[in-house]
Symmetry: C3
Subunit: 437 residues, 3 copies
């Protein structure tokens, strides 16, 4: 994985990622229930995934695992018996976690249970009511305005009963017990960018890491948003203490530029690695300071944990109009974007894996690179970037600076700095310093 | 006081402030003498003010209290007996601290004693000679150019005799002995912005603080510039050690934007509070680094004291043409500006009073705000600023960050952050950390 | 020296500097050999210079002193016997360190030994092959393109034999054994800006410093680039430990603006002094961060030494087209530029010499400057820069801030800050704090 993905592989990989997102798309997920269970099962088709089930009522910090929600069908029928709103056509039509209902209602009675987006009259919003019992339908604003007085037959064939919250974990042991945590949420129904893109990228990142030697142990967690991450943390306080680096993955399939949101620590190694990867990408991208609102980094970065976990996105939630609407569908994401996102994740992981401290064995003056064929032979012109990288690595391999530090200081791509360090190590000019902690 | 002043109150307050400045305007103040004594008496009409009198000759650090200066009349008469320069018309006409004189002089003999502003030929300059015995008249440049050869009868009916330097103090005890020092100079004669605006704002700030509970004790000092502040410091080294925060108030009545000059420490709590108040104001304003030239912060921030005392101004002394001229009159200041300045001072004090450290009682993951009605109930849309402020306060109430820190970090107005903290404290989610020092 | 150089002196000095560069110009220097020896001898005509000779084969850290190279003649003759390439006309024609050769060659045999600059077809490049045995000629690209098939008589009458590497040192003892190191390379043949400008400025700086009292001891080293600096460091580890400040001087004669490249430490006193000098200059100039590529600061700033040595230049090597070509001739440098460069060097040295910590003897409030005639006597107008400098010096002479710190903080020219400090010391208001280390 830590090798650059070539163009052909990227195309193939993009196709695989996109296909997987497409397979997951129709499922009606929520924070509990069979849709989420089915999703985890499909992830388990790609990577070794352990399924965890936490019973309703289990306390997890300040929260309690809610009742399990399942839904079979839902509709609103007009007087002519036509299903004018139909869950089977789009699972966003149902307010997620709606309690069961079967009644005949006039429009004015139904109206408080209908959600629309007046500014985007063709789109269906995505709304939830996990912790307050309610029921409702989400429809396009145009449809709302065309509704007559009714009456309507309103049916939500759902159940809200004692059951379980499900999540999945893929653990890949490495040379140390120090862990890299990769987390994504699996609770959104048919939404492509905000959910499926993260799931697909995380799954394929795990797949590729599974087959290579690993410095760190990796733990991929596929959890329902908020309550799932809280449940995981409540049950894994030991594992949490071993997290050296972490990433929340989401919104990685759209056409926007990359955004990396720093961890609460602000300058953790993962923050610096992500910043260097985005810098080396040579495309516009943005680094966002930590804030306590967003995805599950909210939980990982709560003050009691304060884990070094950042969040990688393309477009930022809430800033693109398709966010949490039916327009965040499979046409909103693309294979090339997914493959590029996977490449960026792999590059961040690559820095974490390869960021070592080396010691210059000839710290007094430069060593003579020429006689080792590590310099140009005819003097007079400026040296190229390759030789420059060697000089940087030699000068700053004083025990204090890691090669990530050197990539930051020099402005040279991490891959070039690492290559220089490895070459100099082979030449006996550098020695690897054993990990400190 | 710590409540926002509403618009009606602001209008009324502005009127009161402006009226008070107007009452003080005609008095001929100096660093000693009856004009300053009368000024302190009038301040004492609004707030409890203790008057201090320090005898001539008293050593105060490197300085000595000078002789007391009083003036009854001064004029220059033409050969026809007409008072062509008349102290009674404008007290700026006399070089402040002029020694007595009564002579008949030709223009060429008089000329070295005349001060003008050639670039502003209609304005009378304000000049002083406190520490070198001299006499003189300040006149418009146009008048100077129209003078004939004379001779002139020149009279300054002043006295420079052993007496006292006067200053006033208003002390408002609070819950702690730690003090907030508010200082303004009271030595300028008929100058509105540079002197009276500061006196008016300080007086009304004291008035409003007198009637509310106070965390800190407040000491308002009304002192002659330089020598008065030095005298106060020389006599109050104990009180100076209790100063936790301080502000010098001056030039607060003109139409310019706010300027806050940092204390010598550069990042004292008062510096940060003032910066957040000006940021939250949503108007253009400027933060100026400390420099050892200016008003009495020069003394409070001398290296032996190095008190956390900044200086709040609108237009900065020396940068507006009216500075130290007859054009700094009552038309140069306005009631709305004075009221706004008072509001800014009150907001700074408000932060100092309310800036606490809280501890998140549920530091592991977010507490469930929803079941406490502190969150929106239907999920799917981004949360509003109110909820965002709660998340910021919870996340950073780790014992290390005060709510001022959180207001700085989040960019959320201090008032919103404070409201969130108080609400979360009421809900039992935060507990107030007792003061550390 | 520490006095500003007046305009007339500057003109004379510029002439002297330029004349010296002109005298050195024709000599064929290299990293060893008689050309460099002759250069050192000529420097020794201006300043006391000790010559050091290190035998071929001597190990210096990772390097070995190479064989000594000398050259008497070199040419390429056409079939008609004409010297179409002639070392005697321009010593850049020979690849520096060429092994001897005398052969008859066709153009195609000769071609791999010819170096040109296609983008600058009239100019002759400067190329070297110190550490790989080779021979070659450098010619204009136009000449290359006009060459017929030959054959050519090719002759390089050079020798590469056991001998010595030569360098020179001028040591000027000061009040302390702490040293200021001034280093320039002496290995380039007929190149004016990149070599001779540095030699001339360093020589005249030493000359002027020789005749004044010195706080620091000064060591001027005139060394062949890279190997010479490495040899000097290998033989002078004690002296290196005494280096408190240092400068590499190069490219100081062209018309470009000043560039100062920071030492590896980044904020050494010499770095800050150079930055203040360039700031006070009031011309465009640039501060460059350290990088491990450049001149002999590469060696002085290698991690084992990490000396506080920066590099002063006008145009930066590699960024001007004349760099390392025949166009870097005497017309590329000028007397005024050389004199200005010397003035900048002298100003940096001046700060190092005069940067002291003072203690304000009246730290509580301002001392009364007026009664010491250190203030204006008539109050009312803003004070001038002179008095402002006094206030800054008094306020920050708290034992923590040197006058360089104060010049940085206040934005006031170092010369004004120093003058204020000296005046205040004479007045008994400041006392000099003895050096700490």
């Amino acid at each position: 994985m830590h090798q650059p993905i070539d163009h052909q592989d990227a195309l193939k990989l993009g196709g695989d990622l996109y296909r997987f997102a497409g397979e997951l798309y129709p499922i009606c997920r929520s924070i509990t229930g069979d849709g989420t269970r089915r999703t985890l099962e499909m992830i388990g088709g790609h990577i070794p995934l352990q399924l965890f089930e936490i019973p309703t009522g289990t306390p997890v910090f300040d929260w309690t695992i809610p009742r399990e929600w399942n839904i079979r069908d839902a509709y609103v029928k007009s007087v002519t018996g036509e299903r004018i709103i139909d869950f089977k056509k789009c699972n966003l039509h149902v307010l997620n976690y709606s309690t069961p209902v079967h009644e005949k209602l006039s429009l004015s009675e139904l109206r408080p249970h209908l959600f629309t987006i007046p500014e985007k009259p063709d789109w269906i919003p995505y709304r939830t009511s996990y912790y307050r019992e309610d029921w409702g339908f989400c429809i396009s604003h145009n449809q709302l305005q065309a509704l007559d007085e009714g009456p309507y037959e309103v049916c939500i064939d759902s159940s809200l009963t004692d059951g379980y919250l499900s999540y999945g974990e893929c653990y890949l042991p490495g040379n140390t017990q120090d862990e890299v945590l990769i987390s994504c949420h699996v609770c959104h129904p048919s939404l492509a960018n905000d959910n499926l893109s993260g799931i697909a990228v995380a799954t394929f990142l795990a797949k590729s890491l599974a087959s290579v030697p690993r410095r760190y142990s990796y733990r991929f967690v596929f959890v329902p948003g908020t309550i799932g991450a809280i449940a995981w943390l409540a049950r894994n306080r030991d594992a949490a203490q071993r997290v050296r680096h972490g990433l929340v993955l989401t919104c990685l399939g759209d056409g926007g530029r990359f955004h990396y949101k720093r961890s609460r620590r602000g300058n953790a190694e993962v923050d610096r690695s992500a910043a260097v990867v985005l810098r080396d990408l040579g495309e516009a991208s943005e680094i966002i300071e930590f804030s306590p609102y967003g995805y599950d980094e909210r939980q990982y970065c709560s003050p009691g944990f304060n884990l070094p976990v950042g969040c990688l996105m393309r477009s930022v939630w809430g800033t693109f109009p398709e966010y949490h609407t039916s327009a965040d569908d499979l046409s909103f994401i693309g294979p090339v974007q997914l493959a590029d996102s996977l490449r960026v994740c792999a590059s961040i992981v690559d820095i974490l894996e390869k960021n070592h401290h080396y010691r210059n064995m000839n710290p007094f003056c430069e060593p003579q690179l020429g006689r080792r064929n590590l310099y140009r032979s005819t003097g007079g012109k400026a040296v190229g970037e390759e030789i420059n990288a060697r000089l940087w690595v030699l000068n700053f391999s004083d025990g204090e600076h890691s090669i990530l530090d050197i990539a930051e200081k020099s402005g040279i791509a991490f891959s070039e700095v690492r290559a220089a360090a490895e070459l100099l190590q082979e030449s006996g000019l550098l020695s690897l310093i054993a990990e400190r902690d």
